[in-house]
Every structure is written in C-alpha cells, then in structure tokens.
C-alpha cells in the first residue's frame, strides 16, 4: 500500500517554510523504505479525497482566505476526514480548520468548521520561540511562532502542548495547538517537524503503526539545541 501525503496549496499556505514538514515526512518514510508518494495540490488542481495525510501551512491574510475558499468547495476536507484521512495544520492552516478566523479590516471569515475552535485578532502579534510540554508521550516541543490571531477552544479539547515559553494559542490559555483523533494543529513554525522528530514520527505512526528508529541524529540534536537555547 502506498502512503499518500497531500501538500495543500503551498503557493498560498507556505509563507514560513512550512513546506519543510512535507519534505521531512517524506524523508523519514524514505529512510525506512516505506512506499509513499507526495501529491502537491496547486491552485486549480483537484484535491484528492482518498489520501492518507493532508498538510496545511501558514500564510498571509489574503492567501489564507483564497485557500479557505478553495478548500471549502465540495466539502473536500470533510470528505477526506470521513474516509479516515489525517491532517497536520500549521498557523493559518490551524485557523482555517476552525469555525472562523479574522481577516484585514476587522472582517470575520467562516472556517471549514472541522474543529470547535475560533480565532480572533490579538492586540499584539505573538512572535518568538515557543516551548511546550506535549500532552502525548513525546519529547518537549519546540518551534517559532509568528501569528496575529489567538485561537480558543469552544469545547473541551486536547491541546498539543502546555506552553512553558512563548504564547501558543493565546487568550491566557497556556496551551499550544490541538490534537483530535485525526488532526494535529499547531502554531509552531521552524518547521515544526524538523525541530520535533518525535512529533513527525508520532503523526506517521498513528496512521501506519510502529516504525523502526532512524540512525541520523541531526534532528534530535537540533531539537535539543533549540530547547536548550530558550531555557538558558
């Protein structure tokens, strides 16, 4: 069986190097000789509904709205989830999955309504290193956040991590990101899966089962260095 990763609209949602997450997942599968393919869905392309994992990155306001309009067509993402797909979403991608998010000029844009969160404009942009303790059994999470929105949970939901440095989802919540049965969402750039190899494997293993370890240690070294750099 070929594991299919779909990178959604990188030209719209790719401002902060988040496309690296796709490259990293693909590389980690390749190291294990796991058969897989990456489908890059550009503006105007049909969105496959039968893939295994969909990735959404960060983007600027207008690009986020343009992406939202494309993703909302024919309930594509909803159908993908219904057929068992998983989603990994970063920043603007995280916001798009929720009930609504803010746009320029004080506008509120409806989201895909796949998770019970809403995003509002924050007075101050959250910019800087973010560290959190994960709610899943993996190492401390490290990333670089840069977002003007604050995301709050509208019902009881599991965050990805509890923030020890930085802002995360904001609104005084002290939490970062979100996990559901099929979705992992975060404000961590860096990109997140370069700095957090255990999160990368956790996302893959949730879908594919336990995988063999990888001998290359550079990602673990990077992870430890970033965590240390912030704590000291």
């Amino acid at each position: 069986m070929t594991f299919t990763i779909v990178h959604l609209l990188p030209e719209l949602l790719g401002t902060y190097g988040d496309r690296g997450n796709v490259d990293i997942l693909s590389w980690r599968l390749k190291q294990r000789e796991f058969e897989h393919e990456v489908i890059i869905v550009a503006v105007g392309d049909k969105i496959p509904t039968k893939a295994d994992l969909y990735l959404l990155g960060g983007g600027e306001d207008d690009a986020q709205i343009a992406a939202m309009e494309i993703l909302a067509r024919k309930d594509g993402m909803k159908k993908a989830l219904e057929s068992g797909a998983h989603i990994f979403a970063v920043c603007a991608g995280f916001q798009i999955l929720g009930m609504n998010f803010p746009a320029s000029g004080g506008r509120i844009v409806p989201g895909l309504e796949l998770i019970a969160v809403e995003t509002i404009s924050a007075e101050l942009r959250s910019v800087g290193e973010v560290i959190s303790e994960p709610t899943i059994p993996i190492a401390t999470l490290t990333g670089f956040e840069n977002h003007g929105g604050q995301t709050r949970f509208l019902e009881e939901l599991q965050p990805l991590g509890r923030v020890s440095h930085g802002v995360g989802n904001g609104t005084g919540s002290g939490v970062e990101g979100l996990i559901t049965d099929q979705i992992v969402a975060t404000y961590m750039h860096g990109p997140a899966l370069a700095r957090n190899p255990e999160l990368a494997d956790w996302i893959l293993e949730r879908k594919l089962g336990a995988m063999s370890p990888i001998s290359t240690s550079i990602f673990d070294q990077l992870h430890d260095e970033r965590v240390r750099a912030v704590r000291h």
Binding site: E11, L12, G14, T15, Y16, G17, D18, R19, G20, D23, I24, W27, V43, G44, E60, D61, D62, A63, I65, A66, V127, G128, E129, F144, N146, H189, G190, P191, A194, T216, I218, F219, Q221, L222, E225
Partner: protein
Amino acid sequence: MKLKVTIWFANVFGALSRLTGRGSGVMVTGRIILKLMPSAVATLSKNRRIILITGTNGKTTTTSLIYNALATTTRTISNFTGANLFAGVATALSQDSKAKTAALEVDEMVLPWAITQTRPELVVLLNLGRDQLDRLSEVRFVAQKWKDALATLPENCQILGDADDPFVVWAAQDWSKVIWFSAGTKGHIDASTCPVCGHVLVWSDGGNSYHCECGFMKPDPDWVLNDGTLRGPDGEMIEVVSRIPGRAAVANAARAIISAVVIGVSPTAAANAVSMVSSVDGRFGELHIGATIFRLLLSKNPASWRETLATSSTSGPETVLLSVNANTQDGKDTSWLWDVDYSPLRGRVVLVTGERRLDVSARLTVNEIPHRIVNDELEASRVIGDKKADLIASYTAFHRLAKSVRR
C-alpha cells in the same frame, strides 16, 4: 551655522567611536545629528538631487553602482556601508557639503520617513519579497507602507520600478511618473494572490507575466534587460557589463545605468562606470583564513539564497562554506531555510557553520546534500586547506567577516 556645529560635534564622537574600536562611527554620528537637530536630514537635502534606493535585495550593491555612475559627472555622496536606517542616512548627507547629488540606500521601512525628509527626485524600487518575517512583517504590509508613502512624493519625482514584481507594481502604479524596468525575472514566491483584490494571481508566459481578473496586470516595461543588453524607451541599446558575478548583479547594473541616465549622465559614461565595480562593501571580496582563500558572498532570504547559490555554483570553486546566524538583523526565525532548494550544491564539497548550523544541517540532510558541520571558519579552513572556497554567509556572519575584506 548651528547645523555645521552639530555635524562637527557628531563627527568628533563618530571618530572617537571608531578610534576606540566601538564601531565604524557612522551610527554614532548620525544619531547625534538627529538628536541635536531632528530636522537635519531635511535641511541637508535642500538644493540637492536625492535618489533613494530600496527593496528587499540588492540595495547596497545598486546604491554603490548608482553612486559610481553619478560620480562621473556630478559630485555625489552616498551611504556606502549599507547603513540604511535614520542615522545612516543623516551621516551620509552630512559628509560633503559641496556634493550636489546623493544616492541613498534606505531600509524598506525607512522609505516613508526618507521621502518626507529628503524630497527625492528619483526613487528606485528594486523588489519586495519575504525577509525577516519576525521583524519586517509580511510582504503585503510593507507594500502598503510604500504605497502610502509614494503618494506623498514631490510632483516631479520619478520612480524606477520593477515591472516583474507585483508588489512593486502595486505600490508604485498610482504615481504618474513611473519608469518600468524588466529584467525578465520569473515568478514571485510571495505573489500568489493579487495585491489589489486578494484573488489568486494568474502567472503566464512561464512566469514572465501576471494578471488578475480584477484588471491588475504587469505593466509594459520602458526599459528591458535581455541577455546583457538594455533596451530603452527610444530604442537605445546599452551593453550592460558587470564585474560583480550573477544575474541579479547584471539587473542591478542595468538599474544603475537607467537611474544615472534619468539624472542626466550619458549612457556610455554610466555603463562604463558601472562596469568597473567588482566588489561592494565586502561582497565577492577575498578573505584569507588560514591557508584558505574564501570569496565572501552575502545571502539573507530565500530570494537572495537562490541567486547566490546559482552564482556560486556557476562561477565558484568546488568547495563552499555556508554560515547562518539568526540574530535580530538576520531574522530570528530560520524556517525560510526550507523555502530554498539547495540542490545546486550537489556534487560540491559543502561545509556548514554559524550559530544555526544545526538548522542548516537538518535542511541539507533532507535535501540530500552531503555536508560536514564545523565550529567556525578557522576549523573550516583547516578542513579545506590551501584552496579557494566560496563562503556564503547570512547578514551578521557576513558583516563580521566583511570587516576583514575592507581595506
């Protein structure tokens, strides 16, 4: 009189700063001038012909090229060292009271202030792309700042704008006197949506052109650079020769020639002067570390990395050292490393250093570029030995090393 005393006083402090090894003195001088006389830049700009140069990439090089072209016919001042914030502009203007022309590099966010203060005759807009997103904010925001500022230009001011860049076009197109230039740059990493209406921007002709359903489109260029030949609005043809390597350098040389021609320099004199410049503020300069001779290249964001990697891989030696930091001036977020395709490095001997060498190493690992991590340039030179190598450095690493290149 008060201004002269202020400048004298500031210069003394600048010299002290330089002599005591605190810095070049440029910032100190400018800060004191502006502190004592906030209107100094406006006063010093009066009765002078001011050219402002800004954009994400190529500011320092283009400013230096314009300076050299203008200096053939008129006494000119400039901020040569890339000191492009308020103090740097003030210092540059204070240095030669007899100079009638000034070519001033300004930071993207300083442009509005510089327009108000200097009342320029020409504004050169190079390009606008993602850069230091944690500090400079997203591209659209900067473009809006430019657009607002350009609406307040003096009536006779001209803009030399890049027709290939949708953000430059959007910022400048409302002005009545725009000279459009095209170097045939294809595509734009940040312009997937229309700057006017936010809908998806349609790129056509292999990335050479763009338009939107709202009517926004690439303007017809007045000057076109093609294969090293610059064609002007009256059919004039100028050969553009650049001793600085790379495609971007040739385009900047063309911009400098056009700017000089607009100010009244003959095309031949301008093209000659531009062709003589081989190194600007340490860029492409030679640096001897241990037994190794490094050629120093600056790279600071995805667009400039792409250009630099192409230039280094076509004109450089086999060995290359990458040095990446993430201080305030570099941008503290290194995510952009993943927006760059490093495959032009494949087949070369690659070493990696800098404060964020682990980030670079992770990126190169996934990009399948074999490489070796070293602690610093000295260790790199021990590994490389008695050979030539390119050293591609991010902003703060570059400027630390460039000090040793300057003579």
